[in-house]
């Protein structure tokens, strides 16, 4: 065990994957000499050479699109989107090609690809850099969407995503890159996709969250505890596959839930969570499931981002509302 930041965890998995399997190739903007703008790939080009850790032209669609071709040739590409927000430039390649190439070719050309993409708010980035787009990708069948909340999961889930024969969008929270720091086993291990993590148990209500929002959920649970509520936290870890079982169990046990995400409300992933919970645990529900999400507005400029990103206070309010309903 060693304490590691999330960025260190990711870097170590990338290094191990490049080490372990010749077919692995890392490609993206500034991933080589510069080691990535957040240093996720720092030192990798030095270790593995410029043919395996490749600085690409500034063009997201061909970063992802050439990765499709690399996969067809038998490689395991790990393209990086410098920011998830610029995945929109490659959206047709991701949802229209990566996600369905195995299906289209009826298994002839699997896509064992991992698209890495940082995102997330409250880190004072310029416009478009913080945008939460996970719901759009979760609605692209054929793709898996992974959103780790801890360094330990980042390491183990990235390792699993690379081994997984299906294409994975691996979303890394900017806020967590250096702030999230936890005990990470030094040896190689994997964390399965589609198994949620019970962060804490609670008998009154469960907050369902993922990625950097898990920390917000925990703080809100702490605050709720001060008010006498026993609030659990469920970290989904991946949106696709979705751990339906864990959602059912968590809500069946306590009868109340709040779902939380950073992206805007309408058609955000929270809708999916509420729908799934009420399908699975309707008869246990003792109050409406609360949704805490950003408003239906674009991510704002930095001076007011704290008014936009869901706060501990908002989650706490939702917990109270559910408890008092």
């Amino acid at each position: 065990m060693a304490e590691m930041t999330m960025i260190e965890a990711i870097r170590s998995t990338l290094g191990a994957a490049l080490e372990a399997d010749e077919r692995v190739i890392v490609l993206g903007q500034d991933v080589g000499v510069n080691g990535g703008v957040f240093r996720a790939t720092e030192g990798l080009q030095e270790r593995f050479g410029a043919e395996r850790v490749v600085d690409m032209p500034l063009a997201e669609a061909v970063i992802v699109g050439s990765a499709v071709g690399l996969a067809c040739s038998g490689m395991i590409p790990i393209p990086e989107l410098q920011f998830l927000g610029f995945g929109s430039q490659a959206f047709h390649q991701i949802e229209g090609q990566v996600a369905r190439y195995a299906y289209r070719s009826q298994g002839s050309y699997p896509m064992p690809m991992v698209i890495r993409a940082p995102w997330g708010g409250n880190v004072r980035t310029p416009e478009l850099h913080s945008d939460a787009h996970e719901a759009k990708y979760a609605n692209a069948p054929g793709l898996k969407v992974v959103m780790p909340a801890t360094a330990r999961d980042a390491k183990g889930m990235l390792a699993e995503a690379i081994r997984d024969p299906d294409p994975v969008l691996f979303c890394e929270p900017l806020r967590g890159y250096r702030l999230i720091k936890d005990d990470v086993p030094e040896e190689d291990y994997t964390v399965p996709l589609g198994k949620a993590r019970v962060v804490r148990e609670g008998s009154d209500l469960v907050i369902v969250a993922y990625s950097a929002a898990v920390v917000i959920a925990e703080r809100a649970a702490d605050r709720a505890a001060e008010e006498g509520y026993s609030v659990g936290v469920l970290d989904l870890r991946s949106l696709v596959p979705l751990d339906v079982e864990a959602l059912r169990e968590a809500v069946a046990a306590c009868g109340r839930a709040v779902v939380l995400h950073e992206g805007s409300l309408t058609a955000g992933f929270g809708g999916e969570l509420v729908a799934t919970i009420q399908e699975e645990a309707f008869w246990s529900l003792q109050a409406p499931i609360g949704r805490v999400a950003a408003p239906d507005a674009p991510y704002p400029r930095v001076t007011i981002e704290e008014l936009y990103v869901p706060s501990v206070q908002r989650v706490l309010d939702a917990v109270r509302a559910a408890m008092e309903a």
């Binding site: 669609a61 061909v62 699109g65 996969a71 067809c72 047709h92 195995a102 070719s105 002839s108 979705l242």
Partner: protein, 368 residues
């Protein structure tokens, strides 16, 4: 210092005149059995176009895009590659090229009749599936070529796209990346004059698409796309360069779409019949026919026999495709993931129950 707005461009490379005579002194590399094989592929394509059109009109085939008029562009280029070694990355109007690289006619018929198996590739086939998203395959071709080279193979990838698709961002990004990585790709841009109803003059102001090559630091060549020998010659040189590690080439094949865009299209709404007629004089099949006839390699009788044989081939392929039943529920779910989410498995189970005529006990169950 000022680059003038329009660069003076050479005429397209032409080696075979419309009357079937070869350019003075040119000895085509496409000769003997390979030439006759190419000829058969061109005729097969015509026969297949005709047959598919009539099947579609009878409601027995889905949407179909004929090759009609572009046979030399497709065959001349693909015959410059080596089957079993090189690769084809098609758009949707290059069936003869795909067939040479391991795609089977019966699979094509499955594709045209809307069966998923039509895009499953045999293990030994070096072809990617038809691509509906215009230009999306061009980045794939570059990645494929790059990946094969990483693995020490000296394969060349040939990819096709149209004058319309050339306007997509993907075309640009891929051509540029190919230049940077010196990927062994031959880009065959079939300029057939039309993108559905949009004439090429509304597609671009460029006097030639081949002129784009210079902007990517790659080789470019403008070729008479209705000339089998010119296409083969230019592509063979491009393949040799690619194989030798000298990077990609952009070939503009100037050709003409002789029929409708596809079976849903009505070109009389927008194609000037006079223009169409003018283009008939340059028919690529007729041109090769004249050449082979003059050389005594084919005659009417032998062609009739060949056409009859090709018809039988196409009919057999269609019959084979007809015989393969479309999949059931598994056709929706298989291969979406190699490791499907449990929720998808639940959806599949529900769909199977429905297909078996059972009512869903509780819809919620299928979303697990």
């Amino acid at each position: 210092m000022t680059a003038t707005p329009t660069v003076e461009l050479p005429e397209p490379l032409r080696l075979l005149a419309p009357d079937g005579t070869l350019a003075e002194g040119h000895v085509p590399a496409l000769a003997d059995e390979a030439l006759l094989d190419a000829w058969r592929a061109m005729l097969r394509s015509r026969v297949c176009d005709e047959r598919c059109f009539s099947l579609q009109r009878q409601g027995r085939l889905g949407t179909f895009s004929p090759v009609n008029g572009e046979e030399a562009a497709v065959v001349g280029s693909a015959w410059a590659l080596e089957p079993g070694r090189d690769w084809i990355v098609p758009q949707y109007r290059e069936l003869p090229a795909m067939l040479r690289f391991g795609y089977r006619l019966a699979q094509a018929m499955q594709y045209y009749t809307g069966k998923p198996a039509g895009s499953r590739m045999d293990a030994e086939a070096n072809v990617l599936p038809f691509q509906i998203s215009l230009a999306a395959q061009i980045p794939h071709a570059v990645g494929l070529a790059w990946g094969l080279r990483i693995q020490g193979l000296d394969a060349v990838v040939m990819t096709y796209f149209g004058d319309g698709a050339s306007s997509e961002g993907d075309a640009h990004e891929a051509l540029n990346l190919a230049g940077v990585r010196r990927a062994p790709v031959v880009f065959v841009l079939k300029n057939n004059g039309w993108a559905i109803s949009t004439p090429v003059r509304k597609q671009t102001a460029a006097p030639s698409f081949a002129a784009r090559a210079a902007g990517y630091g790659i080789a470019g060549e403008l070729v008479d796309g209705n000339d089998l020998f010119a296409m083969h010659d230019a592509c063979a040189r491009a393949v040799a360069r690619a194989r030798a590690g000298e990077g990609p080439t952009l070939i503009e094949a100037r050709t003409y779409r002789m029929g409708p865009h596809n079976t849903s299209d009505d070109p009389t709404r927008y194609v000037d019949p006079v223009e169409l007629d003018e283009h008939r004089a340059f028919d690529p099949v007729e041109r090769v026919r004249r050449h082979l006839t003059a050389r005594g390699l084919v005659d009417e009788t032998s062609e009739e026999a060949l056409v009859a044989q090709l018809r039988a081939e196409v009919d057999a392929a269609f019959a084979e495709a007809q015989d393969s039943a479309p999949p059931g529920v598994e056709g929706i779910f298989d291969h979406v993931y190699a490791r499907a989410p449990t929720r998808l498995d639940a959806q599949r189970a529900a769909a199977e129950r429905r297909a078996a005529g059972q009512r869903d006990a509780a819809t919620a169950r299928e979303h697990r």
